[in-house]
Symmetry: C2
Subunit: 145 residues, 2 copies
């Protein structure tokens, strides 16, 4: 379970919902989504809960309940999705505080913080360049391969 599949699942979910909507379904249920992702509906609901907090989807309750995407898929970037999940940063600092009486131990964390911030920035710019609509287009194009 080393690598995080949460972004993968979230993008899968949104892409699926957009396609499902396009095929005429009013709402998507966590159970049907789970059928495509191949996992448990609760895992999907947890994911959708994060996306809802970020305003990307909405839940309807009562009869005919389910989920809808609230924004134009052209306007949802993978950065929006990434931020909705609030993952911890890519790289972490030391577990134990390094020796503060050693010059390196004292200065290394602020220095690396700066480096890691630059990395996150580069990654965000890259993520911002792809939208859910792009992903859906690409996914559908692969059907013919």
């Amino acid at each position: 379970m080393s690598a995080n599949s949460r972004l993968t699942v979230a993008v899968h979910v949104l892409t699926w919902m957009v396609l499902d909507r396009r095929e005429g379904h009013e709402v998507a249920t966590s159970e049907r989504i789970a059928g495509s992702v191949n996992t448990n509906p609760v895992v999907i609901r947890r994911c959708l809960g994060d996306l809802r907090k970020a305003g990307l989807v909405e839940a309807r309750r009562g009869t005919g309940a389910g989920w809808v995407v609230t924004r134009d898929p052209e306007s949802i970037t993978l950065l929006d999705v990434y931020e909705a999940l609030d993952e911890g940063g890519l790289f972490g600092m030391h577990n134990a505080r390094p020796n503060q009486s050693c010059p390196v131990g004292f200065g290394i964390q602020p220095t690396l913080r700066q480096v890691y911030d630059g990395l996150e920035d580069a990654m965000r710019k890259q993520l911002a360049g792809t939208t859910i609509a792009d992903v859906l287009r690409d996914v559908l194009a692969r059907q013919r391969e």
Copy 2:
């Protein structure tokens, strides 16, 4: 244990070794390094083992044993360090294979693979822009703050 501190530790180790060398010490022992990182010597040896496989450091044995950095710190980029650790990718795919009879389930993985490769690339370019010498310079500059 969410975030990986392995890159942080590896950079700390190399930076410390360069400074230690500059202060006149022939070799560095895992125990002394562990004193700065504030962890167990075995953890440091494991880290140094990875760096050795990548040719960044060398171990000497017998009396006066220890470790030396084999390359000019100006020539060691953080990308070299990152690659020495061979981490898994930043984001993982689904744990269970998505439903292949669903268009999204079928096409999503190759699509995301391409997106994630782009991310890794951006991150690598960023990492390649900083050297151990840069880090040491920055670390020492922070002593006066």
